[in-house]
Symmetry: C2
């Protein structure tokens, strides 16, 4: 009975997680390698933090909803020994949780290592994060984030650098994008000029929905949040602003004159757009006052990247934050960062057929296995080719040739060598181009000629 | 009071886990990149599996001790709702655990995806694993494994391929190693010829300790396990065997004649050493009959890699297993694999100073920030250099020059450009080699000349 149970065990993985096979891993690595290369070119260097963080580090950083979505790890040993069962058990038996994003661990890292790092500190990080979210199409419980951040400077040159990185990353990947830019101080200014400085969050959240639910519904929502009709009316022209970035900024300046914070935001945007023009950014950059992003920790620039040729949500985004390290005891450090959404980038590239061919490191040549003596005969040939970095395989078993052919076919290996007793006698090696059918014989020692044929 | 508490929160990470900074991450990536490159050259392709596996997949695969060392993840939502508090709570509130190694997830992967993969299936995997072990020097609760395996063939050519990979990986890294080889069937044969076929595990475990506790203590231990003195005596000459691999094999053949299993193991070893000679392996390969490795799932070849120039435990090891996928409902699939210990390899390379210089992707040139107009003036120069893949930074703030110099110094940036108003008037760019003190002026458009100077 026990044996039957064991045999019946069908292996599976937790809901919302994924296995990545050969091809997918190669394609995902192509994305990671591309973003890393660009990050490095701008002087950002990689760090890694542990998958497990203390819950004291994670809790309270992502709102009540985020706290619920944290994966908690049961204390090791007998977690329940000495627990007070009349009190909530979770805090008593779990002290660690899985990383929820890369931003909070980064803030923790900066504070913990403040005496080792050089400010301004430029880092990137590419690691998985975990969220106990309801799994659905395109939303996973384990997924990679690619974050690039600079802390320790308030200069708009940092924002420019991120715009340059966005520009170069997506061009390298072949994805046409539009980069939307806004500034949180302008949003604060909006709340001030309509007489509801306490409603920044409500206004921000409502504005965030304008694309999805339209102006009327946003009006409705703002009225429902307690804004008076006059205030909402003052917001409407801002939300429906059009024209070039410069025209929008100019129009905003006259509307925003009474808000110091709002004017500061406009100054920052103007400086950034000036740098963007000077740097010759080719990606379309659009001032988008409806852009808010849910996260409440942004204090300056806000970024969002949209793919132009594929219907999908944002494929990257970020912004400036002033208070991130304050919670860990290091106030006054300003930073700005962008996160690249690897899964959505993958979906766009797959959908548009943008991955280059040959990513899977498929072997170039399979030596068929004709027996032990033949194998020993071709081992030095295989070694010579591998020393030239050619991917070469020897079929491990002296199986029927048809089976070995099938293996080459299923793995997409383009060249096959069938080198048997007669070739051994002649001191030669036989290689066939499986696509063209062309077959040639080489001296066993002439690796250079073989290399030429395999090209 | 609450604010004070928050400010006092000193950030830290869980015991046994680590942060990796710029330099360490670059050095670790150098190891991962090197092993990946070699794995790929032999036709192995990368897969990735989730950090979280169902506990049904993990439990019972690593012995009782391993089960205790699994990190369990609390079910999301209200994990304790509906729990029966009179029964053990852990199994009721935890369905998932963190990956303990890469072997069991690989076996699970092969069974789950058996209709998609091509046999023989060659994969490598480089991912972290987690164990709730007592942390100590060189032992962590989160660490990376680099595993390479082939399943679906019983040929000793698979073993050879792993030997070739070991040979090439450690030579590429510059680490001189000795590769110890044994065969589990020979160990089984030993138990048989001394009349205790049921004591394979006891004998194996005792033999494993011969290097650490010496022959006398191993004798003692075997007697304690219930072997009679005559049986132990019959084992002693085997344990103290010397000579070349061929001499050892020959001596074993006469001792082992009565054990079919043992003779089969000797046949496999002889075939493998034959291939090793034919393939021209440069790494020292030693038949080591005291080599057992604790893991009970090996059924054929057993490998262990020892560094010759640095005192440390094994820096790699593995073997052949016949029954790994059986537990998941796919019996009869034989496989063989090796795991490279990234942390110990790192320690050896650090200890011997084997990491090449310049791994950290340090910027080549820092443009000092002399103000907004000067920055806009040098932006196109920076862009031109970056388009040639030169790592270039612009200091983000118009800070005191001394501070900007210090930044270049602390980050190890070799060239500094101070381009101010007079250079702007002249249309030039000024660059200084900080080590030699040499300073030169270039036309702003002459990126080629600047590139030459930076070399």
């Amino acid at each position: 009975m026990i044996i039957q149970q064991k045999m019946a065990q069908k292996p599976s993985i937790p809901k919302g997680t994924r296995d990545f096979g050969h091809a997918e891993t190669a394609e995902r690595n192509y994305i990671f390698d591309t973003v890393s290369r660009v990050f490095r070119k701008y002087g950002y260097a990689q760090i890694e933090t542990p998958a497990m963080e203390n819950l004291t580090t994670l809790l309270g950083k992502y709102g009540d909803e985020g706290d619920k979505l944290l994966y908690r790890i049961l204390n090791s040993g007998d977690a329940f020994a000495g627990a007070d069962f009349s009190q909530p058990l979770t805090p008593q038996v779990c002290e660690k949780g899985l990383r929820y994003d890369l931003t909070v661990p980064f803030a923790r890292y900066v504070v913990q290592h403040q005496n080792e790092i050089t400010l301004p500190f430029k880092r990137f990080q590419i690691q998985p994060v975990w969220r106990a979210d309801r799994p659905q199409k395109g939303r996973y419980r384990e997924f990679y984030q690619c974050d690039v951040d600079m802390v320790g400077s308030r200069s708009q040159l940092c924002e420019l650098e991120l715009v340059q990185i966005v520009d170069e990353v997506y061009r390298s990947l072949g994805i046409r994008v539009s980069l939307r830019i806004n500034n949180r101080k302008v949003l604060t200014g909006l709340a001030e000029i309509c007489g509801h400085p306490d409603k920044v969050t409500d206004i921000t959240v409502a504005i965030d929905k304008i694309d999805k639910i339209g102006l009327d519904a946003v009006r409705e929502e703002l009225l429902g949040k307690g804004l008076d009709a006059a205030a909402v009316d003052r917001l409407v022209p801002v939300l429906t602003l059009s024209g070039s970035n410069a025209e929008k900024l100019a129009a905003m300046r006259s509307l925003m004159a009474s808000s110091e914070e709002g004017m500061k935001g406009l100054d920052e945007l103007e400086e950034l757009f000036g740098y963007i023009a000077a740097a010759g950014i080719r990606t379309e950059t659009v001032l988008d006052l409806s852009l808010a992003r849910g996260l409440s920790y942004y204090t300056g620039a806000i970024f969002e990247v949209k793919a132009l040729d594929w219907q999908i949500g944002s494929i990257g985004g970020g912004g400036r934050y002033d208070n991130l390290t304050g919670i860990f005891g290091l106030p006054g450090l300003s930073g700005v960062g962008i996160s690249f959404g690897a899964d959505r980038i993958y979906d766009v590239m797959k959908g548009l057929g943008l991955f280059p061919a040959g990513l899977g490191n498929v072997p170039v040549l399979l030596f068929a296995n004709m027996g032990a003596a033949e194998t020993e005969y071709i081992l030095p040939v295989a070694a010579a080719l591998r020393s030239e970095n050619v991917i070469v395989e020897i079929y491990p078993d002296a199986a029927k040739l048809r089976k070995q052919f099938e293996y080459a076919d299923r793995r997409g290996i383009p060249f096959l060598s069938i080198t048997g007793a007669s070739e051994m006698e002649a001191g030669s090696v036989n290689i066939k181009n499986l696509a063209s059918g062309e077959q040639r014989s080489f001296s066993r020692d002439d690796a250079a000629a073989i290399l030429e044929f395999l090209k």
